[in-house]
C-alpha cells in the first residue's frame, strides 16, 4: 500500500504570465513526481500540486527563487488519509 508521509499539497497562485509559464514548466520536471490536483489555468487562479517529500525542498526553492506565491494546503497528506481511514472504521463500528 502506497503511503504519503511528508507529502504536502501546495497551493500556488501565479501572479502573471511569466509565473504561469514557470509553474507550467514544473509539470515537465518528471523527477519531482508532482501530482497536479488542480492544473495550471489562468493568472491568479490557484494551482494545487501534491509534492512528494523528496521533492519538497527543491520545489519550494524553485518557487521562492522566482518569488512565486504559494501556501501549504495540506501539511502532511498521510495524516489526512489516516484520519479518513479512522473515520470510515468508526462508522463501520457504529
Amino acid at each position: 500500500k502506497e503511503t504519503f508521509e511528508g507529502h504536502q499539497v501546495l497551493r500556488i497562485i501565479p501572479k502573471d504570465d511569466v509565473q504561469l509559464s514557470l509553474v507550467k514548466d514544473l509539470e515537465d520536471i518528471i523527477e519531482f513526481e508532482l501530482d497536479f490536483w488542480r492544473g495550471v489555468t489562468h493568472v491568479s487562479v490557484p494551482v494545487d500540486v501534491r509534492v512528494p517529500f523528496h521533492s519538497l525542498q527543491s520545489v519550494k526553492i524553485y518557487l521562492e527563487v522566482q518569488d512565486i506565491e504559494y501556501s501549504i494546503m495540506v501539511e502532511d497528506l498521510q495524516v489526512m488519509l489516516d484520519e479518513e481511514e479512522l473515520e470510515s472504521a468508526a462508522r463501520v463500528a457504529e
Binding site: E2, F4, W37, T41, M73, V74, M80, L81, E87, R91
Partner: protein, 309 residues
C-alpha cells in the same frame, strides 16, 4: 446492510459494497431499476450501469456517470445517493416523475472500477485506469483524455508516467470504449453528465478548442440556472462556463466527444470542495454535496425533458 434503506450513504464504500448496493436496489425496485453490464474493465470487473425506466422502448435518455477519476471518492458516493434518490422520489416528486414517465435515466456509479479498487487497497491518490502501457513501466491512462475529441492535442500528455496521459489511441481504454459503444448503440441520449471533483465548477464543451459550441448561449444559461439551484441549499458557490475558458485546455475529454455525437446537454461537474480537503473530502460532506448537486442535476434533466430535440 439488508436493504438500501439501511445502507450508510454518509460514508465511503469499497467497490464490493457499491456493487451489492446496486443489486439490492434492482431487487427492491424490479419495475423501475435494472442493471446493464456495458462491458468489462481491463482487470475484468463489470461496468455496471443502472437503468431507471418506466417502460417504452429506446426512450430519450439521460446519462450520468461518476468516478471516472477513481480518487474522486465523493463522486461515487454521490452517485450511490442519486440512485436511491431517484427510486425514492419517483411518484412523489412531480418533476422527476414527469421526466421518468417520458425518459430513461442511466447511471454509471463506478466508471473506473480498477482504479477505484486500487485507491482502496494500494494508492489512495490513483486517478487513471490500471491498464499497463506497452513500452513503459508506468501504468494507466487518464480516462478523461482518451476520447476521440481533439485526441492527443494540447491539454493532455503523451507521457505514460503523467496523470493526464491520453493513451496510445482514442478509446484505447475498455472503460471508455464501453461507454462509446453504449452511447452509439443507444442513439437517443439527450443529456450526458460526467461528474468529477474537486473545484466546484459546472462545465460545458469545448475543452480542446476555443471555438464556442453552437449551443453555447443555451448551455451557459442552463448552467447558470443549475448552479443557482445548487447554491440555494447551502450557499455553495460554483463557477461555470466552457472547459477551456473556465479551467484549461483539455483534449480527448468525455463531454467534448458526447457533444460532437449530437448530445446537446453535455456537462461536467467538479464537486466540492475548492481545496481545503480536495480529493480527501471528509465523509460528513457526502450528503450535503449529493443533496445540493441533485438540485443542479434536476435543473438540467428538467430542461432536457422540456426541450426535446
Amino acid at each position: 446492510p439488508r436493504n438500501t434503506d439501511s445502507f450508510d450513504y454518509a460514508k465511503y464504500h469499497p467497490i464490493n459494497e457499491i456493487y451489492s448496493f446496486q443489486d439490492m436496489l434492482v431487487a427492491e425496485n424490479p419495475n423501475l431499476v435494472s442493471k446493464i453490464v456495458i462491458g468489462q474493465s481491463y482487470e475484468g470487473r463489470p461496468l455496471n450501469v443502472l437503468k431507471f425506466s418506466t417502460g417504452g422502448t429506446n426512450r430519450p435518455a439521460i446519462w450520468i456517470d461518476t468516478g471516472i477519476h477513481s480518487r474522486e471518492w465523493v463522486t461515487q458516493a454521490s452517485g450511490t445517493w442519486f440512485a436511491k434518490k431517484i427510486v425514492t422520489d419517483y411518484g412523489r416528486d412531480p418533476a422527476l416523475t414527469a421526466i421518468l414517465n417520458n425518459m430513461d435515466i442511466y447511471l454509471e456509479i463506478v466508471t473506473n472500477p480498477d482504479g477505484y479498487y486500487f485507491t482502496h487497497n494500494s494508492n489512495r491518490m490513483w486517478r487513471k485506469t490500471r491498464k499497463p502501457n506497452p513500452g513503459s513501466s508506468c501504468i494507466g491512462v487518464d480516462p478523461n483524455r482518451n476520447w476521440d475529441a481533439g485526441f492527443g492535442g494540447p491539454g493532455a500528455s503523451n507521457n505514460p508516467c503523467t496523470e493526464t496521459y491520453h493513451g496510445p489511441r482514442a478509446h484505447s481504454e475498455p472503460e471508455v470504449k464501453a461507454i462509446v459503444d453504449f452511447v452509439k448503440s443507444h442513439g437517443n441520449i439527450k443529456a450526458f453528465i460526467s461528474i468529477h471533483s474537486y473545484s466546484q465548477m459546472l462545465l460545458y464543451p469545448y475543452g480542446y478548442t476555443t471555438t464556442a459550441v453552437k449551443d453555447q448561449p443555451e448551455l451557459h444559461s442552463l448552467a447558470k440556472k443549475a448552479i443557482t439551484d445548487l447554491a440555494s441549499l447551502y450557499g455553495t458557490r460554483y463557477r461555470y462556463g466552457s472547459i477551456i475558458s473556465t479551467i484549461y485546455q483539455a483534449s480527448g475529454g468525455t463531454i467534448d466527444w458526447t457533444y460532437n455525437q449530437g448530445i446537446k446537454y453535455s456537462y461536467t461537474f467538479e464537486l466540492r470542495d475548492t481545496g481545503r480537503y480536495g480529493f480527501i473530502l471528509p465523509a460528513n460532506q457526502i450528503l450535503p454535496t449529493a443533496r445540493e448537486t441533485w438540485l443542479a442535476l434536476m435543473a438540467i434533466m428538467d430542461h432536457t425533458f422540456k426541450n426535446p430535440y
